[in-house]
Amino acid sequence: MAGGIKKFVVGCFDDEKVLFPAVKNVRKAGYKIHDVYTPFPVHGLDHAIGMRETSIHTAGFIYAITGTTTALTSISWIFTKDWPLNIGGKPHFALPAWIPITFELTVLFSAIGMVLTFCYLCQMAPFVKKHHFHPRATDDLFVMAIECTDKTNDAEVQAFLTQAGASEVNVQHAETGWWIGRYDREQKLYKEPKAIN
């Protein structure tokens, strides 16, 4: 999806202990942190870079009650209106007996819905390719990407990051969105003209 190509100053940190004060200083200096890529969930980092809480659990709740309603309405329609089956003379509207299936559908809808929502929000799917600022961001590096504007002096930002404790600093032009691609091929951005055979 189109995100556009932007310029970033990238700083890599070896330890989250160095990263936290660096994040604080970078924000205080007024630079805009595009994102921080970490090999594992670093607790408190989301708040440190000023992100709001995720509301994916609210979505999960909505999917859950959708599941509950789907189960109850379909079963009661089927067993009282569409085909009232006489089972040993028991009532057609047998709510207690429907609880297991209602529960299972609640969980099922919620789980599937949440995972799909997660993939949609994070823009993740098979064959989706993104720009990765550093291959070791999934191994042992904490990679901070600072977005540059026309006015940003990137040499200054680089010096600032080095001083804040970054072990590696560079400037990258990167596509911020995703595109269809495979990781074994050289990255071809969708903007580039396609060769016509």
Binding site: K17, F40, H57, P100, E104, V107, M114, F118
Partner: protein, 483 residues
């Protein structure tokens, strides 16, 4: 903010050795990047052979009918349903470890959760085979799905525990799969970013969905895992409860018991953990992961085994007592004659079950035996055998003599194709597990990294040093601050 979080120094480290983040990646992902060992090939070929035997047995059963099995009118459920319940039980440990222990904030789950979840998924696949092929006319299996159809529309019976089972097991499978795979995404991305070969770049690139490790994604990922854990916790309890309803809602003596749901759930956790032990003891040795699946992990699981084993033992005695106390002659006959009487045709299976599930796990009250890997390995096999016999006892000893003595069955023993089908599911299970152990990280890499600084051995030593050097300062900075 103090980043070096305080964890009691009395607690055993969960990650042994001098590790840093990169070393963790190296240790866990290196086996994926190496050629499989000779042992792997041997195991893989054996499991394929078993699988093929299973396929042939199922082919016989589908072609010639259920008569290929030694079931009869009295014993309508035999090995097939025994195996079904056994596999489903094994499939309970994975979600328990990753969901319930996540909610309880048990750090040690990180060493075993990934493999246990994989085990769950494969075990549920194996379990599902039994009711499906037991249908006989398997080409009509889709009849269990409720959908508007040309047969009336004739719907399924939503009041039947057998249909609840269809919903429970398919939901359990789907949710476990989603939970497992969403947890795998970051680790697959780690493999992708280290990949040297074209195939690995392509395969792990596709499989990791383009995961980048962005802070926002991690935040959502954490929230997703937590809610999925919250959903899976009642789910895992509901699945075996509903399986037990298959029996408990009937009026067959020996099945008609209200204790079944909790008793089945405890038994499922018991057998599931035994299977995790069997697999993990081998995996940690073969893949050289002793630093991540430590003796402490094995001990923690043994504690759960002795707890759930004792719950199961308590349930056995309770149902025996209630059968006598309830004064229903049929119920009491089922327990006193069909089961507890050692000289009745199946009496041996009851006492074998009692020995394996109730007596033998009591060894684990001893700390020394809990921490002994050889003892644990053999115990885990004994528990698996015992739990198989539990289901066999419940099913066969209840139905082989029913209300009408003229329809009592002769001695039931399985046919070669019944056994073949069971062995075939072993083949299927290990076929999947061998592929998993070769191509996927068997330990949750990111989760281990997240606990390294609180539970890693080298960090624990460092903390102890700080603590010793200046106790007062340490207290002010690390402990008081935390409160």
């Amino acid at each position: 903010m103090s980043l070096l979080k305080y964890e009691s120094q009395l607690r055993e480290p969960l990650v042994d050795g001098n590790k840093d983040y990169h070393q963790i990646t190296e240790d866990i992902i290196r086996p994926i990047e190496m050629k499989p060992s000779r042992l792997w090939y041997i195991g893989f070929v054996i499991s394929i052979c078993l699988l093929l035997f299973g396929v042939y047995s199922v082919y016989r059963e589908v072609t010639y009918g259920i008569g290929q099995w030694n079931l009869n009118k009295t014993i309508g459920w035999g090995w097939d349903i025994t195996n079904f319940v056994w596999w489903i039980g094994i499939g309970h440990a994975g979600t328990l470890i990753s969901a319930i222990l996540l909610l309880f904030r048990q750090g040690w789950r990180t060493g075993v959760n990934r493999a246990a979840e994989a085990m769950t998924i494969f075990a549920v696949i194996c379990a599902g085979q039994f009711p499906i092929w037991h249908m006989g006319r398997v080409w009509m299996a889709f009849f269990v799905m409720p959908y508007p159809n040309s047969r009336g529309p004739l719907w399924v019976n939503f009041n039947s525990p057998l249909l609840w089972d269809v919903f429970a097991i398919s939901t359990y499978f789907t949710v476990s799969l989603l939970f497992w795979y969403s947890g795998l995404l970051p680790d697959l991305a780690t493999v992708r970013d280290r990949a040297k070969t074209k195939f690995r770049k392509m395969f792990y690139g596709v499989a990791s969905f383009g995961w980048s490790g962005s802070t926002k994604h991690w935040q959502r990922h954490e929230s997703l895992s937590l809610v999925l854990a919250g959903l899976s916790t009642p789910l895992v309890l509901s699945v075996h409860t509903i399986v037990s309803f298959d029996f408990a809602t009937s009026i067959v003596p020996g099945w008609h018991t209200t204790i079944f749901p909790p008793y089945f759930v405890a038994g499922a956790i018991f057998s599931g953990f035994a299977m995790v032990q069997t697999l993990m003891i081998v995996v940690r040795k073969v893949l050289n992961l002793q630093d991540y699946i430590t003796v402490g992990h094995i001990e923690a699981m043994n504690k759960i085994i002795v707890l759930t084993g004792s719950i199961v033992g308590c349930a056995y005695l309770t149902e025996l007592f209630i059968a006598w106390y309830g004064q229903n002659p049929y119920e009491w006959y089922a327990f006193s004659q069909n089961r507890a009487n050692l000289f009745s045709p199946y009496g041996w299976s009851y006492w074998l079950m009692m020995f394996c599930n109730v007596v033998s796990p009591q060894l684990f009250w001893s700390r020394k035996l809990r921490r002994n890997i050889t003892v644990t390995f053999f115990m885990s096999i004994i528990v698996n055998i015992g739990m198989w016999y539990e289901r066999f006892v419940i099913i066969v000893t209840s139905v082989y003599r029913d209300y009408l003595p003229s329809s009592w069955s002769t001695y039931y023993s399985p046919s070669i194709y019944e056994i073949g089908f069971y062995l075939g599911t072993f083949g299927l299970f290990f076929f999947c597990f061998f592929l998993f152990a070769k191509y996927f990280p068997v330990i949750a890499v990111a989760e281990i990294k997240a606990i390294l600084k609180t539970s890693g051995e080298n960090y624990k030593v460092k903390m102890t040093d700080i603590e010793k050097a200046d106790a007062e300062k340490f207290y002010i900075e690390e402990v008081e601050h935390a409160h």
